[in-house]
Amino acid sequence: MRELVTIFISAVLVNNFVLYYFLGICPFLGVSSRLDSALGIGMATTFVMTMTALVTWPLNYYVLSADTGMGLPFLEYVIFIIVIASLVQFVEMFLRRFFHNLYRALGIYLPLITTNCAILGMALFMVLREYGYIETVVFGFSAGAGFTMVIVIMAGIREDIKYAPVPEIFKGAPITLITAGLLALAFMGFSGIIAP
């Protein structure tokens, strides 16, 4: 239990995917100009990430791994990206069929998630750190939760920046990047929470 809580706090606050590992920067900069769409993409990402964790772990353990599976580690990237792409497609169809309201809220963000590097990054970290099944699922969920939190904070700040007198050359990408930098600086304050 202790380890699971550590994984959660580490993925959400200390080693946040966006601000520490730079994963998922594209949606973080691209879809963070409005609060409601930021929340939408955050929830969709968390959902797909948890699903990816559920599926890729057994696949890696029983098929790809050199020690416990059939010894095909060089197929890792190809297989993972296919799993993620088909999972996104499947989630989209499933939501459209059975949860129409949820589909209308998240639908347009789903196709974008395939190229969100945070998802593939999560699967790669899972292999690298040799997590167990439950640890992986908790890790996937918390990485998604951390992503959601940061993108929502960012969207809140950017909604305010719209009314601020930003110098002409800093408009658009530069001011967004510098805001992200200050946010990363603030999150460094969490680094003492977990003893190394």
Partner: protein
Amino acid sequence: MLKEFFKGIWKENPVLRQLLGMCPTLAVTTSSVNGIAMGLATTFVVVSSGIIVSLFRNVIPSQVRIPVFTVIIATFVTLVDLILKAYFPDISRALGPYVPLIVVNCIILGRQEAFTSKNPVLLSVCDTLGMGLGFTLLLVVLGSIREILGSGSVFGMHIMPAFFRPLVIMVLPAGAFITLGLIAAMYNLVNQKADRT
């Protein structure tokens, strides 16, 4: 053809203009060597997958093109990863999980979608090579700035005077965001000046 090549380097620079490929740009540029390695690896992948996509552009059905492109890209990334592991183990260790993450670098998929799937092989090579080198150039500049200020050296050589105290913040994530933000502002400034004259 030269136009297709040079547009990637400045006018349509993938990072500064199109805001693509941000994750590796920010993550690996703690030193200039890492920047150049990541840039060249990405260039190799984008050029070779561009050639394949361009060759088969009339055969790939448009409904399944994205998965097909992705699998082609993932194959070349696996190749690069194995080569780095075999011949350059130090670089492979320094770049870590960011080598496999080249698969989801949006620059690569973006070029297949926007250019190589609609153009003949030679033009595709010019376009992807330009984009790849434009990306590499930015990574080297960003990596050098962060290495000079963050550890007082460039390409591993110590260049700053003895009284210089390294700014640790520059090698941390916050420094990456802020430096890239300032570079993007400079880029806007130069383009604005050029537009006026």
